[in-house]
């Protein structure tokens, strides 16, 4: 190594000459943060992302502490004297068709729906990115095999698969999470695969190969960080879809069984009262919507924070 051998004045020459006057490409401010801290600062500067974090935290906290303040009986025990009552001081969101408190049901439903959708989302993200990257990067027979499996799963309507699984196993929350998660990754895996293929052909990856990097480093340092975009956009959509899949299953009597409430089955049961008691549908609907939007905000925030070009 002889990089220092040159006189400093000489080596400084080309930098200035590189740029026409007035078009300084690099800001003069010197940043000295580490990448992790830079990402954190960028994230904290993003207001929508913070709104998302606050909303999610509030929802999760409310659902966790609910049993300490709201008796479970309010959410599950019928009360024939209070059927379909309007909101009041006693029942903040009114009661349903058999007199259960809607607000209490919403909180208890969250204890099932949130873990189901969030873990299904995680399972789907991990599966989709692993299979998509491996398929796209290595190609060949492995790619063929993985993509044919993906196609097969895409071709079978999810509901039939779920019916079969439900017939064999008792639908506990864990089974439900795994099944919903494993049925939600296919389209994302295809997107990840295509992104990986186009990235692998770029000189940025060729250059690292020429340096002698092993596959593990290329996949984790050079491919995964550059396909974050589609992953983080897809994440909230998958979470939302998982909530609805769960409700469809409940509707068919295969998901979480009544009287245990979930946001999905509350929404389903409210159908018949859509005109007479719209709040029955609006309440769980809003819960799902706010959760999905909050995840979306956080996802966008993370995407921007990790991209040096945006922050």
């Amino acid at each position: 190594m002889t990089p220092a051998a040159r006189p400093a004045a000489d080596s400084a020459r080309p930098t200035a000459a590189d740029l026409p006057p007035g078009t300084d490409a690099a800001p003069s401010r010197v940043r000295s943060q580490r990448p992790g801290r830079r990402a954190l600062r960028a994230f904290l500067r993003n207001r929508l992302a913070l709104v998302g974090v606050v909303l999610l935290t509030l929802i999760v906290l409310a659902v966790i502490v609910a049993p300490n303040y709201v008796p479970a009986s309010l959410a599950v025990k019928p009360n024939p004297r209070q059927m379909l009552s309007s909101p009041s001081a006693q029942h903040l969101l009114g009661t349903d068709e058999i007199g259960r408190d809607v607000a209490a049901r919403l909180l208890y439903a969250g204890r099932v729906s949130l873990p189901v959708s969030l873990s299904a989302m995680l399972i789907a993200l991990v599966t989709a990115s692993t299979l998509g990257i491996v398929s796209g990067y290595f190609g060949g027979w492995l790619d063929q095999l993985l993509m044919r499996i993906t196609d097969a799963l895409l071709a079978i309507p999810a509901i039939f698969l779920l019916l079969t699984i439900a017939a064999v196993m008792r639908p506990t929350v864990t089974v439900l999470v795994v099944v919903i998660g494993l049925l939600a990754w296919m389209d994302l895996a295809r997107i990840v695969r295509i992104e990986t293929i186009s990235l692998s052909k770029r000189d940025q990856v060729e250059g690292v190969k020429a340096l002698g990097a092993k596959n593990f480093r290329i996949l984790f340092r050079h491919i995964l960080p550059n396909i974050q975009g589609p992953l983080l956009v897809a994440a909230p959509l998958i979470a939302g879809r998982a909530l609805l899949t769960e409700s469809a299953l409940s509707y068919l009597g295969l998901g979480i069984q009544p009287p245990t409430p979930t946001w999905g089955n509350m929404l389903n049961q409210a159908q018949q009262f859509a005109l007479s008691a719209p709040l029955l549908a609006v309440a769980p609907g809003l819960a799902i919507m706010i959760t999905v939007i909050a995840i979306n905000f956080v996802g966008d925030g993370l995407r921007d924070a990790f991209d040096p070009r945006r922050s």
């Binding site: 400084a12 000189d203 190969k209 050079h222 070009r309």
Partner: protein, 335 residues
């Protein structure tokens, strides 16, 4: 300097003879079709290419788009696996090395890319981009790595403070300097510069060529300089290889080639180099048509379909490379 360098380089077999010998290199890209993905045709990107690169010299590799020059460069580094032929680097045929063994050789041969916008990971800081090579080969870590990155940045004409910045904050010329620093990070002996200035503004091209020239002299580098324009290559190269449709048309010492081109394709290329003097009138040789398809190249001499002096015989024989004067080879039966 060069002594220390060769001591670093593991398994340096020979100290004399060419640093790089390419022998009968061939690369076909299969085109698959039909339901069972059978190979229906081949793109013959490189066909029977042989040449030597001596230690410490710069060899220019010139040809228009589709002539196979980039494929040659990447095959040497095994970024593309050649279909046939040998790439003998310092006495060892690297095409036969295992992946693990090849990794050792990657310290000795590096590449600089054409497009400085596509060749740097946008999510890594400049310090990480350059330092990664040292991490991969366990050359330096922590403070030491940082110091060496700073030295490299200064060496290529950037400032050590640029280490914490990201590629998008730099201009094309500066990014190309970062690419050069990355290639230098492993202290290579040999660098393939794959059209390193083609994507840059003309005003910046000369600076980057100058930088490569300086680096070559100070570090004793050997360069394969790929370009599509003889003008850029003239200045930096000791030898020039002219390629057309996957084959070598002419090889000559740089001065000889420009003063005394033999092959009609070389003449045509030379006549396209602009002369910065409006009073000089020159007959330009304009080639008719486009470069033919490499899937179905012309028989005999591949250049005959566009050659101004082609005769019937040109369709029958593939012209061999013949030495005309010492070091000056041509592949043409009519000259």
């Amino acid at each position: 300097m060069s002594n220390q360098r060769s001591k670093d380089a593991k398994g340096a077999a020979t100290q004399t003879g060419p640093l790089l010998e390419v022998k009968n290199l061939r690369k076909y890209f299969p085109i698959r079709g039909g339901i069972f993905s059978r190979v229906v045709a081949n793109v013959k990107a490189v066909e029977d290419v042989s040449f030597n690169v001596q230690r410490g010299e710069v060899v220019g590799l010139v040809g228009e788009s589709g002539s196979g020059k980039t494929t040659v460069g990447r095959s040497i580094l095994r970024l593309i696996e050649p279909t046939a032929g040998e790439v003998i680097f310092d006495g060892v045929d690297v095409t036969k090395l295992s992946k693990a063994h090849m990794r050792e050789y990657r310290k000795r041969m590096q590449i600089i890319f054409q497009d400085p916008f596509a060749s740097l990971n946008p999510r890594m800081s400049v310090g990480d981009i350059i330092g990664e090579a040292m991490t991969i080969h366990n050359l330096a870590r922590g403070k030491e790595r940082e110091q060496r990155v700073a030295q490299l940045l200064e060496r290529v004409g950037l400032s050590p403070s640029h280490m914490r910045r990201y590629p998008h904050e730099f201009s094309g010329g500066q990014r190309q300097r970062i690419g050069i620093a990355r290639a230098l990070a492993v202290s290579p002996q040999f660098i393939v510069a794959d059209e390193p200035v083609s994507a840059l503004d003309v005003s910046i091209q000369a600076q980057v060529v100058n930088l490569l020239q300086d680096l070559k002299e100070e570090l004793g580098l050997t360069l394969l300089f790929i370009a599509h324009d003889l003008g850029v290559v003239e200045y930096i190269s000791d030898h020039v290889i002219v390629m057309y449709l996957g084959r070598i048309m002419e090889i000559a010492p740089s001065k000889d080639l420009y003063a005394n081109p033999i092959h009609p394709y070389t003449e045509a290329l030379l006549s396209a180099v602009p002369i910065p003097d409006p009073t000089v009138k020159r007959d330009r040789i304009i080639l008719q048509g486009d470069i033919p398809s490499p899937i179905n190249p012309p028989s005999g001499c591949v250049f005959r379909t566009r050659c101004p002096i082609a005769t019937k015989e040109c369709a029958d024989v593939v012209p061999p490379l013949v030495e005309v004067t010492p070091g000056h080879f041509k592949a043409c039966i009519n000259r």
